[in-house]
Amino acid sequence: MNVKNKNGFIDRKMLKRAIKDSFIKLSFKTQKENPVMFLVYLSSILTTLLWIASLCGYSDASPVFIFGITVILWFTVLFANFAEAIAEGRGKAQADALRASKRDVEAHRIPSVNRKDQIENVYSTALKKGDIVYVEAGEQIPADGDVIEGAASVDESAITGESAPVIREAGGDRSAVTGGTTLISDWLVIQVTHASGESFLDKMIAMVEGAARKRTPNEIALQIFLIALTIIFLLVTVSLYTYSAFSASLAGIANPISVTSLVALLVCLAPTTIGALLSAIGIAGMSRLNQANVLAMSGRAIEAAGDVDILMLDKTGTITLGNRQACEFIPVDGADMEELADAAQLSSLSDETPEGRSIVVLAKEKFNIRGRNLHELNMEFVPFSAKTRMSGVNLNGLEIRKGAMDAIKEYVEAHGHVYSKECQQVVEEISHKGGTPLIVAKDFKILGVIYLKDIIKQGVQEKFADLRKMGIRTIMITGDNPLTAAAIAAEAGVDDFLAEATPEGKLQMIRDFQAKGHLVAMTGDGTNDAPALAQADVAVAMNTGTQAAKEAGNMVDLDSSPTKLIEVVRIGKQLLMTRGSLTTFSIANDLAKYFAIIPALFMGLYPGLRALNIMHLHSAESAIFSAVIYNALIIIALIPLALKGVKYREVSASKLLTRNLLVYGAGGIIAPFIAVKVIDIIITALGII
């Protein structure tokens, strides 16, 4: 995103906006959306009416008491609104920036690829799916589409935040362009895939703004639970009124509890903490994903990410560094080690592939053989060709070649030399270890083998071990042969691998896992990845990928980083954990609230119940006030946690549960006892009560 706000997550402007929104959200229509807070909203209205009635002389409690409770209840509602508004704030800021790049521009529509001369200038909003447009350097790409002719560099910073331009060209896996990005060089012919209004940018704006946010199944289930609790507490308080009336009449006194204090009890008991923060948690989860530069097409996808237990990771870029490196020279047939290194270096001096460069470096490191200039040595470079499958140098009729085993074998045998058993043994050994053998021949005679090794990224073993502890298995996807793949898989510590992977193979593997009850996540970019992406439960498409891949996935990674999947899983889990932990905290709080309010309400009726006032709160009124004030303030206090998410560690489910239960369950029981007591001391000291 081009609006990143990673340092301070709330700035002054956002704060102002959120406060304003808290009041706008007081409308009946908005409040109805959140049943738990709607109850508080109605309670506030009720106590307001009771206060007005008390001013006119109709009341069962003092007007000051009713007024005090009313004010706190309204603040409770406002605090909940504020929590949601501040969570939406970041998204809104992002959306504003994105909207700025969504200008209406002039598009050059052409009838077909071959008729670039027949340009018809139309507004980008008038473009339909299937239209063909011509874009030149310096112009903005008018709509999402596929490049059908040309190649150009495109500045996609409006969407990805990355300022370095990227190449977009017809055919292959880099053909997708996004409306709102700018062409820097050359020209492109683009076929429109999405009309204005359905474009990637539009979807993105809707997602970051939360407009398209639908409640996820999990959120709905939680909502049901919270509503049920609220109904129970409503019954508890209403029946308490009748119990109290009944007991009072048995004792021959007037009903000791007022409607206002019952309403206060109801609001305290209802799960307002989680009710107030629930939508903020959801929005913040989405927002965290956006900050990781991943765009989810639905909230459902994020939740599914938390459930994933199989990660299919591409070997290259995720598990290994992109390139192989030479790590050893192994001479065979009695050849000299230094001679081999020298020949290997000579053959690679002009080889600009990373593998070639690593050979030069290894020779230099091990035998101090300096890189030389071919021209000075009067050498002729023979580049790699598909026909010979070898590369090397010619030096006055002396040929040095390096290449794959079968190519060199053919080459030396054609010139009357042998491919020895010893050499074959070395080649097999290297393959077993997961390496790639390159054979070097000088003067048609084999000198030895270069051991090219896949370099496993640092720290991946630990990462996979952590994932395993969480119950997530990693599967490596590679085009290598099974032998090599097995060796790399063992070294990297992945649980399984798919060698010689084809798109069909990937699809089949996902289906097999799903049939066994697993949830699978994968990343992909190519068009041939699309079926597998569509089948996977969580599919992250690279932004550099094709339109088809992006359509098939349910998330798009704007950074196009293959390791992003792990981050996505983390965010998904964190979202669910935050909900669960705050729910536990909210419910556990009720215990202390009972101990504050019940003795306060009934000490008059049954003096013995004073024993339940274990916090020794000052008076009945101060007890009720303290409980209600705590109930309101805890919402504000937990907003940062709701936005950041609870602390997440890669440990097993039971360890996570123990930890969260201790912090949010036990903490939720103890914290309010202390906080309510402190509030009681403060308001008593201030003489408010």
Binding site: P217, I220, A221, L222, I224, F225, A228, I231, I232, L235, V236, S239, L240, T242, Y243, S244, A245, F246, S247, S249, L250, A251, G306, D307, D309, K469, G471, I472, R473, G517, G572, K573, L575, L576, M577, G580, T584, I587, A588, D590, Y594, I598, F602, L605, Y606, P607, G608, L609, R610, A611, L612, Y648, S652, A653, S654, L657, N660, L661, Y664, G665
Partner: protein, 578 residues
């Protein structure tokens, strides 16, 4: 020194476990159609019954069909039982010439027995004929118990089956439960009880000379007493086994002809929890993961043990009033000390308290002592056990499916806390299951809160009370708790036979029974269609101590949050007022 009491309780619990494990296996086999040692004898009878009733047992019912069958089946028996009562005057087997039962009482008793509650607003010996007792009530004791167990098995199939629709055949389930489980167990129990002197005959009541004539305050001397007789043993056996609890006589198992000695007391007390405990093991066996059954059993067992101990301690310590000036010996040496008011001297504190815990934990409701006379906290524990939703073993079948409702809630919260969409036994818990689990778990609190809440403002209810003050409120609360928990035990002291109480408790019982049944079957119907999710290290384990602890915590928390205010005005206020 309460060692003897602890030894006694430990013995009860050990015998219970020893009997429950093999019975659990047996029930599991019966319900999956495997061969058991009674198959040879019963299978032909089973076939005949299906033929007579024209039941096609090969038909697999989906959840709606299963639910409709439950309702039709219960409905038919509802009408039948109501009819028998209001017409008992003209029906046979009525040697005492008892009159037709009043409509509101008949409605109450019918609701009570059809819902496996067995709340008794009447006194059996003075209200119901032998015909009503046997063909009306005893039959209900079997079928209402069978319905509860059948629904549990529908739910079990919902967990076990993958991407199917059928939950089994209701009529086959009920038939098997009655033929293979309830009748054989009742037979054994009834014979044992009769051998110990429990009444089993069709004789008219007998007049006997009292050993010691009673002189009333006005000077009248009573020399003769009426001994009610009748076919008691056969009904008592099933009333205990089927967690029904409706006594043959008004004072239930405190009556010497219903529960004459310590042997019968042991048999009857163990019968209360036998099937509910066995079903936990059946559950583990039939879902192919015995650890899960043991975990649920452990959760129930821990709460039961704690509750039993709490009652025993409170009754033994009695009250400050009783201990004043050593009026009452509170030491348990030699003879029963402590609070013996309302308890039978032949049972004493330990056996009475244990029974109280068992009968209110299981939704049985039979009593061998009067709960009204317990100490405030000793009387609060049975109330809490019922208010928890009758899931600490609970009624046959319904206790376990109620517990699974709580397991679903626990799994949901715990699942979120570990960052996964909650699942139980490989089936995902989604909004639909949550909705139904909430109905399942909260039906009891809702029924109790609404029932008692309304009763508290009905002026006539105050006249039913035996006591004033906090204890008076406890009597009212207990009544609606017993009805809403489908328990049926009485606090005594509360005159329940009024039109308002009969109707309100009647509806409360029907709601608390059938809403959860519907919810359970809906959950089963939804689960059976789902695929099974693979388990791994990221899956929340539902068989370890951690989960058991959490489950207990959730159950107690929901109970406490729902009833703390009510209990504060009743037993807690009474306790602090002593």
């Amino acid at each position: 020194m309460m060692t003897s009491a602890w030894i006694q309780i430990a013995l009860y619990l050990i015998i219970l476990i020893l009997l429950a494990i093999p019975l659990g296996n047996y029930i599991g086999k019966v319900m999956t159609g495997e061969k058991v040692f009674l198959s040879k004898l019963i299978a032909p009878i089973e076939k005949v019954i299906y033929k007579l009733l024209k039941v096609d047992v090969s038909e697999e019912m989906n959840w709606k069909k299963y639910a409709i069958s439950v309702f039709v089946f219960s409905g038919i028996f509802f009408v039948l039982l109501f009819g028998i009562q209001v017409l008992q005057g003209v029906l046979p087997l009525n040697p005492e010439g008892l009159k037709n039962v009043r409509w509101d009482l008949a409605f109450n008793t019918t609701s009570s027995f059809v819902t496996n509650t067995n709340w008794q607003a009447y006194s059996g010996e003075s209200t119901l004929s032998y015909f009503t007792q046997m063909l009306g009530l005893t039959v209900q004791n079997f079928v209402s118990a069978a319905v509860g167990i059948a629904v549990l098995f529908a739910l079990i199939r919902g967990f076990v089956r993958v991407q199917k629709k059928g939950l089994g055949n209701f009529y086959q389930d009920v038939t098997r439960i009655i033929l293979y489980i309830l009748i054989p167990l009742s037979l054994v129990s009834a014979v044992a009880l009769t051998s110990q002197g429990v009444s089993q005959n069709f004789k008219a009541y007998e007049q006997v000379d009292l050993v010691e004539p009673i002189v009333l305050e006005d000077g009248t001397v009573i020399e003769k007493g009426v001994v009610p007789l009748g076919p008691a043993a056969s009904q008592i056996a099933i009333k205990q086994l089927g967690t029904n609890g409706g006594g043959f006589y008004g004072t239930n198992s405190a009556h010497p002809l219903e529960n004459p000695n310590n042997v019968t007391n042991l048999i009857e007390m163990l019968s209360i929890l036998l099937i509910p405990a066995a079903l936990c093991f059946t559950f583990g066996r039939n879902i192919h993961d015995r650890r899960q059954g043991r975990a649920i059993f452990a959760a129930m067992f821990i709460v039961l043990t704690l509750a039993t101990s709490a009652i025993v301690v409170n009754e033994q310590m009695a009250t400050p009033q009783l201990s004043q000036n050593q009026t009452v010996d509170l030491t348990p040496h030699q003879q029963a000390g402590g609070n013996m008011e309302g308890k039978e001297s032949r049972f004493g504190i330990a056996a009475s308290s244990t029974w109280t815990a068992f009968t209110t934990a299981a939704s049985n409701g039979s009593v061998n002592a009067m709960h009204d006379s317990y100490t405030p906290l000793g009387g609060m524990i049975p109330m809490i056990l019922m208010q928890l939703g009758e899931v600490i073993f609970g009624g046959v079948g319904c206790g376990l499916y109620g517990m699974i409702g709580f397991v679903i809630l626990t799994v949901f919260i715990a699942g979120l806390m570990v960052g996964r969409t909650p699942e139980y036994l490989g089936k995902k818990i989604e909004p639909y299951e949550m909705k139904m689990a909430v109905v399942l778990c909260l039906a009891t609190p809702i029924a109790i809160l609404i029932g008692s809440g309304i009763a508290a403002i009905v002026p006539s209810v105050a006249d039913s009370l035996n006591n004033g003050g906090a204890h008076g409120f406890s009597e009212l609360l207990y009544t609606y708790t017993s009805a809403g928990g489908n328990n049926g035990s009485a606090f005594a002291g509360f005159n329940a036979n009024t039109i308002f109480v009969n109707l309100s408790t009647g509806f409360s019982m029907l709601f608390a029974r059938f809403a959860p049944i519907l919810a359970t079957l809906a959950i089963a119907g939804s689960l059976v269609k789902k695929k099974k999710i693979a388990t791994g290290a990221g899956t929340l384990a539902t068989h370890n101590a951690m989960f058991v602890g959490l489950l207990i915590f959730v159950i107690v928390l929901i109970g406490a949050l729902s009833f703390f205010p009510a209990l504060a005005l009743g037993p807690i206020a009474e306790f602090f007022g002593m």
